[in-house]
């Protein structure tokens, strides 16, 4: 398996995903050699079935700010990919690999080269695509790598059906070789909504990067409409991003400044507390390949409102979905969740149950099924 990051080195959810997936696979007897760049923080794993092989230095995480996409960045990516592919070919002579599985575009060149060198099947997981990360202005070079990756892979794993559709539409991927394997979390670790104390004021939470892709503007516009009907509500925006200043000003311009609280980036511990403390979690993303935060809120028993254009909307039938552009529709559902206790309680409990069912063990089973499918030819 080829990845860009592995705990403790991480800049995004990819590290966690790779860590959990390799361990769940290892527990099922799959031997995983995990190729990744050399990092300062060092990586150690105690599972006998997992070997971390670090090749070439990289100064960047997988999802750095777009300004970092300079010549140095791409040369780091190339250096890693080339070296990784050669090391895979060398290693294969001693101990034969059954297949190559890699994550996202940053490791695609290594996977494709290794596939060419040792002629083994290639599985590509798309956690997101350039269109979702960049909005209107995709980096053409990354886009071209993603297209090659989609064309070369023997099987593609996407984290949602929604994402599968995007791959077909945006990258011209062959629908027949795409399989959907959702993301998971350790749902049991989350604080529960009913276990924390709640003040008089109800809380509606937004949590994510403050960029247009995540829909923070619509969230504030909907907040204004909610406050026309229900006064006893506080809207909490967690996360930072380019739009922070703009959003603070927008809240003031809408006349709801005193009802909106910006709390910045939250470390895991606090994040879990905030999910449980909230009465509603809203994810109004314009386009969200999966949306792990929605799953985290579900794991807290907090009812979620998620946009239809997100993968998280698929993991439970017990949900209220929203159109990211429909401010009134969003507000209406928030009001209903605030007013009707039976609704929020039923949703919270049903969603928790579905979140608990989505375990890494299940994700590993689904992934193994994709491997076996290839092995059968």
């Amino acid at each position: 398996m080829i990845g860009w990051e592995y705990p403790p080195f991480k800049t995004g959810g990819l590290a966690v995903h790779c860590y959990e997936l390799t361990h769940a696979l290892a527990a099922k007897g799959v031997k995983v050699d995990f190729y990744m760049p050399i990092t300062d923080s060092g990586v150690s794993v105690s599972d006998r079935n997992i070997k971390i092989i670090q090749v070439a230095h990289a100064k960047f995480g997988a999802y750095v700010t777009r300004q970092a996409y300079g010549p140095e960045f791409f040369s780091d990516v190339h250096a890693f990919n080339n070296t990784a592919a050669e090391r895979i070919a060398q290693h294969d002579k001693k101990e034969r690999y059954d297949l190559i599985h890699h994550h996202d575009w940053m490791t695609a060149l290594a996977a494709m080269k290794a596939k060419y060198l040792i002629d083994r099947p290639m599985v590509s997981t798309f956690h997101s695509i350039e269109f979702d990360r960049s909005g209107m202005w995709p980096n053409e070079y990354i886009l071209s790598i993603e297209k090659q990756m989609a064309a070369t892979a023997d099987r593609i794993i996407t984290v949602s059906k929604y994402m599968k559709g995007r791959l077909v539409e945006k990258l011209g991927a062959d629908e027949r070789k795409i399989r959907v394997v959702y993301n998971a979390i350790d749902a049991g670790d989350f604080k529960k909504h009913w276990d924390v104390s709640h003040g008089k004021e109800r809380i509606v939470l937004f949590l994510g990067r403050l960029t247009e892709q995540k829909g923070p503007t619509q969230f504030l516009n909907a907040a204004k409409r909610v406050l026309e009907k229900e006064r006893n509500v506080r809207f909490v925006m967690a996360g930072t991003g380019d739009m922070l200043g703009y959003l603070i000003n927008l809240a003031i311009a809408l006349g709801i400044g005193e009802k909106v609280t910006f709390i910045g980036y939250l470390p895991d511990e606090q994040k879990r507390y905030v999910y449980a403390k909230s009465d509603i979690y809203v994810m109004p993303s314009v386009s969200e390949p999966f949306g792990i935060t929605a799953l985290e809120a579900m794991a807290s028993g907090t009812p979620v409102l998620v946009s239809k254009t997100s993968g998280a909307a698929e993991v439970t039938p017990h949900k209220l979905v929203i159109d990211f552009w429909d401010v009134n529709g969003m507000a209406e559902k928030m009001v209903a969740l605030l007013r009707y206790k039976t609704l929020s309680e039923t949703l919270g409990k049903e969603e928790l149950r579905d979140a608990l069912n989505l375990t890494w063990d299940k994700i590993a089973d689904d992934t193994l099924r994709v491997y076996e499918e290839i092995a059968r030819g």
């Binding site: 009907k229 017990h318 209220l320 009134n328 507000a331 209406e332 009001v335 609704l343 039923t346 949703l347």
Partner: protein, 397 residues
């Protein structure tokens, strides 16, 4: 030597409108405010073309052909009759013609297809049954001896009420939970009642047509009229009660499945077996004595795997809406406003609660099939917003 007793349920709910809190131009007229006139009209027209008109025309033809040898019966809800009069009067003409043949029986039920039988105070239940009975008398000049409660909801108490209302027979689901080893093909008395006779649906043979007719996974697929008549002829008992939704013909089972051909040839195939006779529910209770007693302390219905009231009152959202509806009875009656009373009753239609069902069995699919909402949660929000608004209107009146 059982007779064949067929009854078709004909119902159309008056569906709710998407009621938005942020719509500043809500109609003042409560009917337009809460109900989706266009949707109801479209659905009614669609079902009229696919089912009501072709199926009723065909059955009329068959009855004219076979005289009083071929008999069937119907239960037509008030909300169906009202919408038929509003959107497609020719549908009513067909039923009128059927009534005139004398080979067709009509059953009574609550006019509004409601769960008023489960209200603590039974006044509303009685009034809705009376209203339905008057409607049938007025439209078709018929009087019913047999009662069918909404969705065949049945219990000892409901049967006792029906008996008090003057009915001689009542429809119920012929489920093992109630019958044990006994056959549904007999007439039964009901615990705690004096004389009322229960007619129990043979759900297996009924569902063979209404549910499995076009099911390719079914080992008996395709079902022919000949094969079906043979099964009936081989059955034991007093009467085989085939009760099903009328929309089976042309709507749930599309015309392309051959369901109309099946219906067309069914009487002729049945007559090939000398012992098979067609009887209406009235005939069955007049001709047969009860062979045993059934005891149903808790609600039994014909819906879902559970065959209880859980399709409408199974989760807390449904129960909350139901108890709010029930609590409005006093305030609604105090207004002495017939329009408000009518609206309150239309809101009692059990379908509105059915759409809020969250049971995750295979039944969930059936609920989804019928529901105009993307999820039960959206259904709840809409119904609850409407009930809250209606409550305000009642308080204002």
């Amino acid at each position: 030597m059982p007779s064949i007793c067929i009854y078709f349920q004909v119902h159309q709910p008056v569906r709710l409108r998407r009621f938005s809190l942020y719509d500043d131009h809500q109609p003042e007229n409560l009917y337009e405010r809460y109900f989706d006139l266009k949707l109801n009209k479209d659905v009614f027209n669609k079902v009229a073309d696919k089912c009501y008109i072709p199926a009723t025309s065909l059955l009329l033809e068959l009855i004219r052909k076979y005289g009083d040898k071929f008999k069937i019966s119907y239960s037509l809800t008030g909300t169906f009759l009202e919408q038929a009069a509003q959107y497609r009067p020719e549908v009513l003409d067909l039923f009128h013609d059927l009534a005139a043949t004398g080979s067709v029986d009509f059953l009574n039920e609550t006019y509004y297809h409601s769960l008023s039988s489960l209200f603590e105070d039974k006044t509303e239940f009685l009034e809705q049954v009376r209203k339905h009975s008057e409607e049938l008398k007025e439209r078709f000049g018929v009087e019913a001896d047999v009662f069918r409660n909404t969705e065949a909801l049945f219990s000892n108490d409901i049967a006792r009420l029906a008996e008090e209302f003057g009915y001689k027979g009542i429809i119920a689901e012929g489920h093992e939970r109630v019958l044990g080893w006994r056959s549904p093909n007999y007439v039964y008395s009901v615990k705690g009642c004096k004389k009322i006779k229960a007619l129990l649906r043979n759900y297996k043979l009924s569902d063979d047509v209404s549910y499995r007719f076009s099911a390719q996974w079914w080992s008996e697929f395709p079902l022919t009229a000949e094969k079906y008549a043979k099964w009936l002829a081989e059955s034991q008992g007093q009467c085989i009660n085939l009760f099903m939704d009328y929309e089976t013909f042309g709507e749930h089972q599309w015309k392309e499945t051959g369901i109309f051909d099946f219906l067309k040839h069914f009487p002729e195939e049945a007559f090939k077996h000398e012992q098979l006779k067609f009887r209406t529910p009235d005939d069955v209770i007049a001709e047969n004595e009860a062979v045993g007693e059934i005891d149903v302390p808790y609600a039994l219905s014909w819906a879902d795997i559970e065959r209880d009231a859980s399709a409408w009152l199974g989760n807390s959202m449904q129960r909350e809406c139901f108890s709010l509806l029930q609590s409005l009875e006093g305030p609604v009656r105090e207004t002495r406003d017939d329009d408000i009373l009518h609206i309150w009753r239309l809101l009692q239609n059990s379908d509105h609660l059915y759409y809020l069902c969250t049971k995750s069995w295979a039944d969930g699919d059936v609920h989804k099939y019928f529901s105009p909402f993307p999820s039960p949660y959206d259904g709840f929000i809409n119904l609850m917003n409407i009930l809250q608004d209606f409550k305000k209107q009642v308080e204002r009146a």
